[in-house]
Subunit: 376 residues, 2 copies
Amino acid sequence: MLNSNLEKLEYVFASVSQKVKKAKSSGAKIIDMGIGDVTLPLGKTVVDAGVNAIAEMSCNEGFRGYGDSSGYDFLKDAVAKYYEGRVRLFRDEIFISDGAKSDCSGITDLFFGNVFVTDPSYPVYVNSNIIAGNFPIFLQGNVSNGFKPAPDGNVPVEAVYICSPANPTGVVYTRSELAEWVRYARRHRALIIFDCAYEAYITENCPHSIFEIEGAEDVAIEINSFSKSAGFTGLRCGYTVIKNERLKKMWKNRQASKSNGVSYPIQRMAEAAYSEQGKSEWRQNVAYYLDNAGLLLRAIKRSGTYCVGGVNSPYVWFDCGRDSEKFFDELLKYGLVATPGAGFGKSAKNFMRVTGFSSRENTKIACEILSEALKR
Amino acid sequence: MLNSNLEKLEYVFASVSQKVKKAKSSGAKIIDMGIGDVTLPLGKTVVDAGVNAIAEMSCNEGFRGYGDSSGYDFLKDAVAKYYEGRVRLFRDEIFISDGAKSDCSGITDLFFGNVFVTDPSYPVYVNSNIIAGNFPIFLQGNVSNGFKPAPDGNVPVEAVYICSPANPTGVVYTRSELAEWVRYARRHRALIIFDCAYEAYITENCPHSIFEIEGAEDVAIEINSFSKSAGFTGLRCGYTVIKNERLKKMWKNRQASKSNGVSYPIQRMAEAAYSEQGKSEWRQNVAYYLDNAGLLLRAIKRSGTYCVGGVNSPYVWFDCGRDSEKFFDELLKYGLVATPGAGFGKSAKNFMRVTGFSSRENTKIACEILSEALKR
């Protein structure tokens, strides 16, 4: 039988991207603050590492074929070093992958049943569970919980998805909030799937890793990425960290059966991204995006509307006081693209996401457009 | 509930690779003809394309973030051109991926139920179906069917896996044999998953693509790779071709939900591999591996034992006249590693696989060792 779940997926962004395409093709100048994609070029350290790795593969002595499906030790060691001071990681706990999206979706191979997903959330959590025949139970984010819903202690599930700092809202969970999730997971023997792809944006005193929370090692799977930190959205590299022995073996078997690992040059580039020089290069970019997000946050706040994110995240999430798809159309008339909340969940109909991933110049123009549009 | 299927996978190769590791660490000179991995370095055209693509990403104008999850048009066009003369392909029928293993295993997201797998076969077909909770039904390969079992017309299944040229046996299906599979699939509404990762090794007049067979377009999914042709085992790039409208939409949804596509530099390198200059570079390597396989084939044939492959494939498959794990141990004493058939299926206990992926010099030594060992 064909898996008709694959035909049930909703693509709320399809109409949005068609409208953007149409506007762009009309010749209008469009500032795109919709897509969650980095824009600044790769740092020199990363580029040099990639060029060297490819050169290695052009000669007999340096050529590399299949690597271990879980990644090269040199990159695992770089990841462990990156975590040093927060969490101690060992090589066999680290699984290199071609990005957080592959891991966030592939992780459904580990379990069957009901899962908690926050609403709004990154659509991959929902869609991958629908494909797998699992049942997402939505935890509503709203103004009263600051878009950080807590788990429902009366409902047992197989797995919970937490994204912190969150996409699309930009909010970050505190230590005590995460501890509540760990307590829930331990009580109900649920997995925590902790997506910290935006941890490099944290500026306040909040956990970067779920493993900073006591007891998480038995129940949590952490997924991190080089995309939003080192700008790898077009290079594809991420990793999953697992400490529980049984889960580790299961994921190892899954990866060995379904992947031949990540491109050697890309792994060398990722290693370089976590070197001291590499980090100092991309941290400048992260600071630039955060400054943009701060400008957006302050401009929207001045208009008096409810607004979160932008401090520990490149994303700013705000109440646009009307149906977000209508507000999207209004902004597009001004030449600004933002993302309607409806694309991230049913509870977010009146909310919008804007991102700090544009240029400073475009961000300043966007601030003016948003101030003007939110007045109406 | 955790997916305990992940704990049921058998790794017959684990003991083999431990023995090899031990032998190597003892300082003995080991000729490894076990692993199915290329050894010759990347061609200049591919290397240049990779270096240029990384350089592009180091400046504002050339930087690329997320690409389409199905790949860039430039690479789809290169694939369509590669197929020209055999099969006409359109962009929306081509899905670029990080390799045939990902697609061969990920394809289980499309269906539930029983599947036909040949025995012996590439272990990924079996393991990915076990993980998915499907039921593999084995079609026995043996001397009387030349290790090309035909489908059992009385048994309906959801999907059939065909690898041609086959791993591990090196045999290739003829046009009329493939037509029988297509007739079976159309009659039983089964999917054909056609793995042609070794098609570049075909020297005789046999189909390179399942879509050369009339009627296949409705039922077949073809998976191809740059690994064994252009030497991309360490770079990771492959593609899936689907012509049926419904299957195409399902796979598109699957890929959009579970992948962010393939690294931009790797896609540029794959494009270069399918350029005229690129092809002429890797075709020299393929010819070299085929010559090695021919030497092995002739040496083994001279010993009088049953032997297939080696003509349209880098693999030679032979009856070692005793338990293959014992013969493995015997060969290891001579310093030669070959792969016991038991790793590929239950019917292949007395068979071994050797590969043409070593150097000419090592291949000649291996021929002598095999001739000597098969005498006993």
